[in-house]
Amino acid sequence: MLDELRELYQEVILDHGKNPRNYRDLPDANYHAHGNNPLCGDKIVVYLKLDDDKVILDCSFEGRGCAISQASASMMTEILIGKKMQDAQALFDSFHAMCTDENYDPAQYPNADEDALDRLQVMAGVREFPMRVKCATLAWHTMQAAVHGDSTASTE
């Protein structure tokens, strides 16, 4: 019983949840969106600063939510800074499958950065907790909405 919980609440997640990185406003952001998980009441804002080549120069977030959603947002910002937007998208596709698909095979996502996926592997425990998948993916959905010009992302 507790093994799966330990798998879900790994030290890395608890650490990011308690001390989220890049938890700040980004006044010169050129993209931002509000993310909303109505079932849980999680509410976050994701900010992105992209240059003309769509390279993510800076990424931050604010808002409140459970340990999983806070940790996921925190890790996402760390991972995305310095990446190209198209790499961020490839990474999200692979990460989303990791969180939802029992037969997830990273080889099906050759464009996703392997080092980043290794780091995100700590979130894979949510697969055993279907109600919590949305917590893990909220920040990523919000990032995507921001870049696509949507003002809000909802997991519902």
Binding site: L5, R64, I68
Partner: protein
């Protein structure tokens, strides 16, 4: 109102638990501890049997046939109206309107009574601790008609502030719509006093009785309310069945809510004459099986006696309230002296959803989230709470299991 002669002397929770098949289930290899009856209660075998029986032996549509099955189903179905009237002490069973739940009951009042009787500038008073189902229908009406929605406050312990409420009443107040028992804080609102104040200003009184019907002995005549709405599934009956109690003269003056079959006296293409209440408000084939199931649920609880069930729940609830408050690092929301059946709380430093997940894996089912009461969450400055809610089958051992599970969550996040 209930027959006192042939029921057990004392409530026997072990015996009651044995009547609920699902309680013998194991969850993640642990005995189920179900503390989410406030969302929906489990069903006793008597309800399961009654519904199965109708479908196997006595099923046909109601009010329509002269054939054997239709007559039998109609009689069984209509008998439930009398049982409900007796249970809430309505003066007439025609004051009992069948709906799909409390939400539909409130929407019925908003659409029918509201549209007919409200004009721009008229006022409706709700409280800060309403469920969304007793907020949104009035907001929709506000946006449609230009009425004003006023909010009666509570204090930090969750007490309904009767004096503050009284100051909100005006000559424009047409309706007071307030919960009997808060689904988050457990607060019991002094409905009888509220209704008297509302009536003194010429306003009607609607009560959201979803939790009240479970944890209190309801006497609509003594409370002197105009509407009392509740769902069947929180009182051990099936989903998709609920009740709108309405005073006879109030219902008589209300137009239909939906049009269709079963709500008419006669129809021609030139003119339709509507049926009298309650059928005027029951268009279409009703939830027949569910109504009969709810009748069985009422028989079941009255077999024990509501007073016995309430006394038992009170005992478990007090134990939970006291023990949770004694745990370090716990904040209990809702500390009104008069509260029932529900304990909401947060664990310091742990989001309610993380608490919910960990507690669940310990075999304990609690609800986490905003409990369809977002304005109340805002009132307390939180996004979510964890809520333990109690039914007739819960025990102090269930509460102990919750406390252990909460400690496990604290260890995880320690």
């Amino acid at each position: 109102m209930n027959d006192l002669s042939n029921r057990p002397i004392a409530f026997d929770v072990a015996k009651a638990r044995a009547d609920f098949p699902i309680l013998s289930k194991e969850i993640y290899g642990k005995p189920l501890v179900f503390l989410d009856s406030g969302a929906s209660a489990q069903k006793p075998q008597a309800v399961i049997d009654a519904m199965t029986y109708v479908m196997r032996e006595e099923y046909a549509n109601v009010h329509r046939g002269v054939h054997y099955l239709s007559q039998h189903t109609t009689m069984a179905y209509e008998a439930v109206r009398g049982k409900i009237a007796a249970h809430i002490n309505a003066s007439d069973e025609n004051e009992v309107v069948f709906t799909r739940g409390a939400t539909e009951a409130i929407n019925l009042v908003a659409a029918s009574w509201g549209r007919k009787n409200l004009q721009e500038g008229d006022e409706i008073i709700v409280s800060e601790m309403e469920h969304h189902s007793n907020i949104v229908p009035w907001q929709m009406l506000r946006d449609e008609l230009g009425i004003v929605l006023k909010v009666a406050p509570i204090d930090d312990d969750g007490n309904f502030l009767l004096d503050a409420f009284e100051t909100l009443l005006s000559d424009r107040t047409k309706l007071v719509a307030i919960t009997h028992v808060s689904n988050v804080l457990g607060t019991v609102v002094p409905i009888k006093e509220v209704a008297a104040l509302a009536h003194a200003r010429g306003a009607l009184m609607l009560v959201d009785g979803c939790q009240g019907i479970v944890h209190m002995q309801i006497d609509v005549q003594d409370l002197d309310v105009d509407f009392y709405a509740f769902s069947g599934h929180k009182l051990y009956g099936p989903t998709a069945f609920g009740v709108l109690y309405g005073k006879k003269d109030v219902l008589a003056d209300m137009p239909p809510y939906q049009g269709g079959g079963d709500m008419i006296a006669s129809v021609s293409f030139e003119k339709t004459i509507y049926a009298e209440p309650p059928h005027r408000f029951e268009a279409g084939t009703p939830p027949i099986i569910e109504a009969i199931g709810f009748g069985a649920a009422l028989d079941y609880v009255n077999g024990w006696g509501m007073d016995q069930i309430i006394a038992h729940e009170e005992d478990v609830h007090r134990y939970a309230q006291d023990r949770l408050k004694q745990l370090p690092g716990i904040t209990v929301y809702g500390n009104a002296p008069d509260k029932q059946g529900i304990v909401s709380f947060l664990v310091d430093g742990i989001h309610a959803h993380d608490v919910g997940t960990i507690v669940d894996r310990c075999g304990v089912a609690v609800r986490v989230g905003h409990h369809c009461a977002e304005p109340l969450m805002q009132r307390f400055g939180v996004e979510a709470m964890a809520r333990a809610s109690f039914g007739m089958y819960n025990t102090k051992e269930d509460v102990d299991a919750l406390l252990e599970a909460v400690k496990t969550a604290q260890e995880f996040f320690g």
